[in-house]
Subunit: 241 residues, 4 copies
């Protein structure tokens, strides 16, 4: 069986290299995510960070990527537009993309969805309960009906997104808020999954259920086909109408 | 301006005539709902109950109804199938329908949506917070970003419905649950809104925001057109192809 | 790999046993469909017809069916309601279902979609061109951008269905009509595909592209999970909120 | 009743000032469109063209626009990005937008939908038949079941758009093609309608049904609310959880 090539991208800013974060993710969240993905024998996960040449997302990297995972927070504006355009073009041509946590304000997210990605938020270390709305969705397989993340950044509705194709998860926060925390979209040939859990100062990506969800989402988002171009062909009339 | 004719239907079983409920809704919830709707000058609301002949939903009643509001809980199975078929036929031909609270297991709800309407529940008088996900939806106009209902029956995901056309409201419950509490659907010419709040032993229909939501939903669900039939016409070939 | 168990159901009325049809489908369309499905090594297809006991759809048959294919036309009303309820219950619990051609007026189709399934039609042997709208959909893999069926019953918009989850195919008819001929839906755990091509007096099910589409749709509709029941559990409050 | 302020925008390139087009639209298509819109007493339509300062779409113009109509073809790339961003920001905050014909490749269309807008095309003066799929949609009111446009540029599936909220119209072309010619979307507070008919060398905008559709779409897309900003507020914990 052909394996799924994943590239885990992280802005990996200075704030992620401070002690509070390093204690949880010594080599960065992208390494932790790639590590648990690589435990699945159908996945080959590599990593890339913003500081790499062309943000680590050269044409040949994306051409060889089935699913791209995107983590960004403080440095969204520093991502070069030509790289963003390259990423979204690949999604439209078939590459899957998983947006994690604060990637709701990343350039590729907004460019693909067409909305602002706005939401309410606070950092209060509240308990989050992630509820499954679609138990038969491939992304929800092996995930309990609900599970808790003891400390999480609170995100709140209204969430500035188009109506999702599927609302797979909704989160409850102990401070009184709710949030559509796992939603799917499709943009031409590319599948998109947004998943909210994952603030950098909490060990969320060590949670077994979060790992299961992200692993499932990679398999779900792997391309059915990748097309070479999305031009507007001048087509001839059919010979026999 | 043509007024919107509303019929508020209630199963109005014996349990609703006991003291606990009568203290809140002396003449039944249908009367309370019709009363606040009639405060809106664009609406004329009448009522019908299960004990009426043909459940109060004779052909001429439905023919004269723009939007039907449905409240049922304990007596779903007692609703005659021929009345259910008449109701759903009118919806498909253009009549709007609003399903309240436990109507998620009513025959018309399941017949129109095609799903079981299953959900988790408990009666624990928990606080519910109703969050607006779509602030620009007509049903959300004049409704705050979120509001609390101090005591409500808890409903929980997963909710057995098709992907909604729009998820307008999601509710948070103090016991740890979430629920898609305000969702829209369309079935041919008829618009459908389900709204969760409204357990009979709590004074939910006296809440100003709940009243606003139901009033808005009536205006949103009023038919654009009502068609006479939904047959399958044998059509001729176009004269000039 | 676990194989996909398919049951191909046909009303198989007297009209299908007349010469015009028998010349094309000597043993009935269900046999032809099962035969081409069985050429795919991941599928095991059996058949059932209306004349069998319980229409050939006993509980144990459905319990062992991953995907049910439904062909009916003249005898929709003769299908017993208890069998229809059993079929739709299995769909909601995870069984996939493929509705072919005139099954748009079958009881299970209307019960699952909640709409009338109405459309315009004529029998004029017109050429149909089936266009692919979603080239990356699993059901469209290996199917050309468009292909012709030389003679087909003409179906025409408006088609009385809810907005599909995905519009995979749209058909053009030489007499001037269009029709959403390949559409997907989901009802709780069950996936639904409707495909229009396949009038009994034309050899449509011998067309290689039609065979490819139906084979693909079986794989797409195979259940992710099958659940035992869709009741409404009385749930306890979470121990630690 | 508050009137709906419409701005009809046209790239109005040199090609539109040549005889073939001027014979049909002496002062440009934008003037023709504004003229028929202004016949409706609920609408006040003004115009703007690319050659105006800031393309005629200064902040104060958009702030005063309820619905923007966009016609562009040859000069998509010449539209300044800061104007595009201003337009799409207004849509997200509530302004409606109607994209006509070749605007499927305009910058605002692609930025709002997130897809390429690709399609097949040929200029062969074929007959188009526009079929109504959703007879009860507000945009379809007063429009016949189907109508012909005698000569139109042919557009063909696959059309590179997300699954529409509603597919209101599908077109049949005499050369054998089909196209989803009238589709709706929503992006946060703003409603979007794309309508295909309207090649500049054919008198399509003089067709009564086309005029009806565009007029209806303006009323449908008029904002329910316009919000001031779509930021991400840092929200406090609720006082009483």
């Amino acid at each position: 069986m052909k394996k799924i090539n994943v590239t885990v991208w992280n802005e990996y800013g200075d704030d992620q290299k401070e002690k509070a974060v390093k204690d949880i993710y010594p080599h960065g969240m992208h390494i932790t995510i790639a590590e648990f993905l690589n435990k699945d024998e159908s996945i080959i996960a590599k990593t890339a960070v913003m500081q790499d040449a062309e943000h680590g997302l050269k044409e040949e990297v994306l051409a060889d990527t089935d699913v791209l995972i995107w983590w960004g927070h403080m440095l969204h504006d520093n991502v070069e537009d030509y790289v963003v355009n390259r990423v979204t073009d690949h999604v439209r041509r078939g590459m899957g993309i998983i947006f994690l946590h604060s990637a709701h304000k990343s350039k590729p997210f907004m460019q693909l969805l067409g909305t602002s990605g706005s939401l309410g938020w606070r950092e209060a270390g509240e308990r989050a309960r992630i509820w499954t709305c679609e138990p038969s969705h491939p992304i929800a397989q092996g995930v309990p009906n609900q599970f808790a993340v003891e400390n999480e950044e609170t995100y709140s509705e209204p969430f500035g997104i188009p109506q999702p194709l599927e609302t797979v998860f909704i989160s409850w926060f102990s401070g009184g808020n709710v949030f559509r925390s796992g939603v799917t979209f499709q943009r031409e040939n590319g599948r998109i999954f947004y998943f909210q859990s994952g603030h950098e100062t909490y060990p969320v990506y060590h949670n077994e259920h979060v790992q299961k969800i992200i692993t499932n989402s990679v398999k779900w988002a792997a391309p059915v086909i990748k097309v070479n171009s999305l031009d507007c062909p001048n087509i001839q009339q059919l010979e026999k109408i």
